[in-house]
């Protein structure tokens, strides 16, 4: 019996090897074409993944990836007992939950309002204007924010009428999050509404006609037709948003925060940047980054599973 099995195995192996050979002969040109692409992914995507091993080592540039000594979970233990651990974890979760609550629904509401417009010209103008911020670089957006909220900035002066102190708003830990979230909505509301608008145009007109005949008002139609039809898109966008939760827009935070606002603005990804690239704690910051990547991955995986179960729409 075992002889027969192993024989079958050899046969299978041979056929597989033959298959590989035949395939390579047939598709040689395709594989040759793919070499630069494979090289890119091997070096710049899988290279860093392999480089994550330094999270379990004491990496020094002199010894390199391979020859630095293993230290097991030391850096993770240090991170979990880090004085700042609780702070950056809370900040990360707070910022991403606030973003989900405020920035996520805004484009959906905008899309619904635009789709209710009668004048097509006006609708197009609103779209063009609200898409604008998407094309402005983070650096410039943060530059504008810094200008407008500086000690003599227009917004600071305006809020002065309501008794706000005339000082640089970004130095105030209480104002950092509102500025971050509101400017985030300003940046994304238009562009993110496109996907919902296209989903809205895909809804069958007959549904609305039938509802009108049955005497359903516009609000009733919104609840019973529009929202159910949008739910698939909303769920997909929600999965994507949750997956990005732990990669909160660190570019914007890096540009906006300063030591006075670290207590509310420091998140995991900015901490990785400061510890690693400014203080050269390579292994420690790689460990923090790995923690971040794993949590992100688990989040996407779980939300995806959940949505598959509940609504049947999923990413994979």
């Amino acid at each position: 019996m075992s002889v027969r099995l192993s024989r079958r195995f050899i046969l299978l192996q041979q056929t597989f090897r033959q298959k590989v050979k035949i395939d390579f002969k047939k598709n040689k040109e395709l594989y040759l074409l793919l070499i630069p692409v494979l090289l890119f992914y091997a070096v710049f995507q899988y290279g860093p993944m392999f480089g994550l091993t330094i999270a379990f080592k004491n990496y020094t540039p002199a010894r390199g990836f391979m020859h630095s000594p293993w230290v097991g979970l030391k850096h993770f233990k240090n991170f979990f007992s880090d004085y700042y651990f609780a702070r950056i974890l809370t900040n990360t979760i707070r910022i991403s939950v606030l973003t989900l609550i405020f920035s996520f629904p805004a484009p959906i509401i905008l899309a619904l309002l635009i789709s209710e417009l009668k004048g097509k010209r006006f609708a197009r103008t609103v779209q063009t204007i609200t898409y604008l911020p998407h094309f402005i670089s983070v650096v410039v957006i943060c530059g504008i924010i810094v200008q407008l909220t500086g000690s003599s900035g227009a917004i600071t002066k305006f809020l002065g009428h309501f008794g706000f102190p005339q000082a640089t708003m970004l130095n105030n830990p209480h104002l950092f999050l509102p500025i971050y979230i509101i400017s985030g909505i300003w940046q994304t509301i238009g562009w993110n509404s496109i996907i919902y608008l296209s989903a809205l145009t895909a809804i069958d007109e007959e549904l609305y006609e039938a509802a009108t005949i049955d005497g359903a008002g516009r609000f009733r139609q919104l609840i019973s037709i529009t929202l159910p039809c949008l739910s698939g898109t909303i769920v997909i966008m929600l999965i994507l948003a949750v997956g990005k939760m732990f990669n909160v827009g660190y570019e914007k935070i890096l540009l906006l925060y300063n030591p006075l606002t670290y207590e509310v603005g420091e998140v995991i990804s900015t901490y990785v940047y400061r510890k690693g690239l400014l203080e050269f704690n390579w292994s420690y910051s790689a460990a923090v980054g790995l923690f971040n990547s794993i949590v992100s991955f688990v989040l996407v995986y779980c939300t995806n599973k959940l949505s598959k179960k509940i609504s049947g729409s999923s990413l994979w």
Binding site: L33, Y41, I54, L132, R218, S293
Partner: protein
């Protein structure tokens, strides 16, 4: 649809008002920057609230910006990265998408899976930095091009577009003896023009706006792209290069210089944007179809 109830009428008016307000909220800060850049620095400092027109029209800030050598080299470096980087981006994306869209290729499913996996799990900032350094790209302008040579999302979108081209076209070319390279550039590329245009635009905007990699990889200021120069001027408040030769109150003109820099760096993109808007929007839709 037949008759509008009073409730609906009120809603329609309210809707137009809300959307007008939103458009203003988005537009006014941008216009404020534009108007302030043309205004007299002294009046800008004194001004209360947002500016709805220039105060004391002057081009002094722009003259100061034009004199700054850093802005000029920044512009040049950014143009290089946008032109060379985007060309490489689209070349690799088109090739990768073509190969991965072919059927009956043994290793394609596995390779696709490995590539898609990188969308959900990455090594992170530090290992990425160390990898680029190990390859020897740090300190070179190529560090802004090669490590970001491909974007997986764009690759998948491109692959979907190529997979939807009927097989019969490439098969008949195959029978006529055309190579894959030939099929790719003479059949696929012309047929997928619309998608390619969208993806080129995406890559170009990303390259124009990128700054983080430049900040961590470059040390020589002569190689800095525009965005990194902007960061020094706008965020780190360094206008010494430009106020050096300016007459009048230095502290005051440095404010309008910042506004002028923003305009100079953003105008190119915002000017071409309305012309290309429909392509960009189409891109979002293509991505959505893939879901």
């Amino acid at each position: 649809m037949i008759k509008t109830t009073p409730g609906e009428k009120i809603f329609n008016v309210f809707n137009v008002l809300v959307l007008t307000a939103l458009a203003l909220v988005i537009l006014v800060p941008l216009l404020n920057v534009l108007f302030a850049s043309f205004s007299d620095p002294v009046l800008v400092m004194k001004h209360e609230g947002l500016m709805l027109h220039p105060y004391g029209f002057t081009g002094a800030a722009y003259k100061a910006v034009a004199k700054d050598p850093n802005i000029l080299t920044g512009y040049r470096n950014t143009l290089f990265v946008v032109v060379v980087g985007t060309s490489l981006n689209i070349l690799l994306t088109v090739i990768g998408a073509y190969v991965l869209s072919r059927k009956n290729v043994l290793w394609n499913p596995l390779i696709t899976m490995l590539i898609v996996f990188t969308m959900y799990f990455q090594g992170g900032t530090i290992p990425f930095y160390l990898t680029v350094r190990a390859v020897g790209l740090d300190g070179s302008i190529w560090s802004l091009i090669i490590p970001t040579a491909m974007n997986t999302f764009n690759l998948i979108v491109m692959r979907t577009a190529m997979a939807s081209v009927p097989d019969s076209l490439s098969e008949s070319a195959m029978i006529d003896g055309a190579s894959h390279t030939r099929i790719l550039f003479s059949i696929m590329v012309p047929l997928c023009q619309a998608t390619i245009a969208v993806i080129v635009l995406y890559y170009a905007v990303t390259n124009w706006n990128a700054w983080f990699n430049a900040m961590i990889f470059l040390r020589d200021k002569k190689l800095y792209p525009l965005q990194l120069i902007l960061r020094e001027i706008l965020i780190q408040d360094d206008t010494t290069m430009m106020t050096a030769g300016a007459e009048g109150d230095l502290g005051m003109i440095s404010e309008t210089i910042k506004y002028a820099t923003i305009v100079v760096a953003t105008a190119p993109i915002l000017c071409i944007y309305p012309l290309l808007q429909r392509y960009f929007v189409k891109g979002v839709m293509i991505g959505a179809v893939k879901g």
